[in-house]
């Protein structure tokens, strides 16, 4: 979609998103700090910073992980997904402040290098209770760093969407490391039930959302049956105008769009971030991805000029009102005459 790379292509909605994000982050830091100083005035400023930004990062990580499945379960939440990367980078910055202050507080001004100290001060790597939990936080932060650095579309295109997606799925590994970091660290010493319960509820909430979204996806992924290479998809009236019906053919999702009395079929996978095109809509004559608004001409699977992304198209046939899709994809960007109906 972008012809040249700029740091951020600002638009009004991005600015609103970032302003809301900044205000909510500041609200958390100010409230946490104020309450701490009122009820716990002996807290040191370093400890306050470590705790405020650490807990903020955990809260933000939960919100980030909830957005994906929420959007799959209810398309209303796509408004949160569009600029999710800004949320991710902001969460990394909060985690970085927590990590940097912890590293300085616990390991600097000593008789050895701070990183050597991080890995060797506590050598109980084979004990669960005494495990050096700071190391887990360090690796989680490194994953978040790689994700934040590669969050720009420049890296998405240079690494390839598949590689980029795989890299960014490591957020789940980071989440597991963060939870272990907290449970084997702070919880071993400061076992406030409120913190434990909130994180437990958060873990259950995130897990339940992912399971629910996976069940919904699984139902869609039941491969259709073939008759001489033609797969029955649905009846014409099952597809809303300017929307799509998605079927799975040989483990590949295919989206059949209905628009202006015509039917066209393209791959369901957007070239940008593998977004689900079948959950998109025909806008201005183009299939529009629900994630970031990337567009494709439905009959040829090509992004409108001057953009260059292309997708495989599929042949269709109608038997009465029944729509059939041929299992062999055409070349990316190959024009297929739209099927007229009615």
């Amino acid at each position: 979609m972008s012809l040249s790379y700029k740091m951020i292509l600002w638009n009004k909605q991005k600015k609103v998103y970032d302003i809301i994000l900044f205000v909510l982050m500041m609200l958390y830091i100010v409230l946490f700090s104020s309450v701490t100083f009122v009820i716990n005035p002996n807290t040191t400023i370093e400890t306050l910073i470590i705790r405020a930004f650490g807990t903020l990062a955990i809260l933000m990580l939960h919100i980030i992980l909830a957005i994906g499945p929420l959007s799959r379960l209810n398309s209303k939440f796509l408004v949160l997904l569009y600029n999710r990367r800004h949320l991710g980078v902001s969460m990394f910055l909060a985690a970085f402040i927590h990590g940097a202050f912890s590293l300085i507080q616990f390991h600097s001004l000593g008789n050895t290098n701070v990183f050597y100290s991080l890995f060797t001060s506590n050598l109980d790597y084979f004990s669960l209770i005494d495990f050096p939990f700071q190391v887990l936080g360090f690796f989680a932060l490194m994953i978040l760093l790689v994700m934040a650095v590669t969050s720009h579309d420049f890296w998405l295109h240079n690494l390839s969407p598949k590689m980029w997606k795989t890299l960014h799925m490591m957020v789940y590994l980071a989440y597991a490391l963060v939870m272990l970091h907290v449970f084997l660290g702070a919880f071993q010493q400061e076992s406030s039930p409120f913190i434990q319960e909130v994180l437990l509820v958060g873990f259950i909430f995130i897990s339940a959302l992912h399971i629910a979204a996976a069940i919904k996806e699984k139902k869609r992924d039941i491969n259709s049956l073939s008759n001489d290479g033609w797969h029955y998809a649905c009846n014409v009236d099952q597809i809303p105008e300017k929307r799509a019906f998605v079927i799975s053919i040989k483990d590949e999702r295919v989206a059949i769009f209905k628009y202006d009395g015509k039917l066209s079929t393209i791959s369901n996978v957007c070239k940008h971030q593998n977004g689900p095109l079948g959950e998109g809509k025909i806008v201005d004559g183009c299939v529009t991805c629900p994630w970031h608004g990337y567009q494709y001409l439905p009959a040829e699977g090509k992004a409108p000029a001057p953009f260059t992304e292309t997708l495989p198209t599929y042949n269709l046939k109608l038997e009465g009102v029944k729509i059939f899709v041929h299992e062999h994809p055409n070349a990316e960007g190959e024009y297929v005459e739209p099927l007229k109906w009615g």
Partner: protein, 261 residues
């Protein structure tokens, strides 16, 4: 939002219902942020009233006692005085700055030292100012000698802490969260202290040495910040209790939760 409304993030405006949804989500997130900030801030354990007078440099005058760990003895009169444990800057003991000052032993000499006070629960420590050349003045030999009073054999349960953090620099300055810092501090020469929590809520603090009254910093590192049992003999040296032990033989980790936590 109507069923077929569709959000595109780069458009200048949204439909009314999408904007209403954004407002509702923002409000919900605001409520979550306020709730969690309050809940987690209230859930923190109380920080102790320990004090590190960061930024306040004062000058103390007293007699330097090097063994087993450097202390400054300040005599108020012939019977009453205070033994202030000396510490270096950062995660170092006092031997480093004192060693930089003179190749000859300063033990027993009267000194004026600039630095920063650390104090809590009746114990006072003093971080020597890092500008060593201007922070220590050596006066005459005073000839003061402390007498150690043996208190017999003992077996104690507690936690080995680094006193610099525990008595004021960090909160918390003990336990698992602080363990790696405690290890770094003790490895850098800060005296190891056994913290024992009594059933009446009070605490006792003992400087740990070996049977020859020598520092044991390197020998106790693996036990720092864990509940331990130590067998040894106890002595009173000025304001401080001294626990003599053989760390390799007489310290063991306990498989239970520390009372300090």
């Amino acid at each position: 939002m109507k069923k077929d409304e569709f959000y595109i993030g780069y458009r200048k405006s949204n439909s009314k219902s999408i904007n209403q949804f954004i407002k509702r989500v923002t409000l919900l997130l605001g409520v979550i942020v306020i709730f969690i900030a309050f809940l987690w801030a209230f859930s923190q354990p109380k920080a102790p009233e320990s004090k590190f007078e960061l930024g306040s440099v004062i000058e103390l005058q007293g007699t330097l006692m090097m063994a087993p760990y450097p202390m400054l003895r300040i005599n108020h009169n012939e019977q009453v005085g205070k033994d202030i444990l000396l510490l270096g800057f950062g995660k170092f003991g006092a031997n480093k700055p004192l060693g930089q000052l003179s190749e000859q032993s300063l033990d027993g000499k009267q000194l004026k030292i600039k630095g920063t006070l650390i104090y809590y629960d009746g114990k006072t420590l003093f971080q020597i100012d890092p500008d060593i050349a201007n922070s220590i003045k050596v006066l005459q030999h005073k000839g003061y000698k402390r007498i150690s009073e043996d208190m017999g054999s003992i077996t104690l349960e507690g936690e080995i802490i680094d006193p610099k953090c525990y008595f004021g620099v960090m909160k918390p300055g003990h336990g698992k969260i602080h363990r790696s810092c405690g290890v770094r501090c003790i490895a850098g020469g800060i005296p190891p202290v056994l913290l024992v929590s009594n059933s009446d809520g009070t605490q006792d603090y003992m400087l740990i040495v070996d049977e020859n009254n020598e520092p044991v910093n390197q020998q106790v590192l693996e036990f720092v910040g864990k509940p331990v049992q130590i067998k040894g003999s106890l002595a009173q040296l000025g304001d401080w209790l001294i626990l003599k032990t053989t760390p390799e033989k007489n310290i063991e980790t306990l498989n239970k939760k520390s009372k300090v936590y």
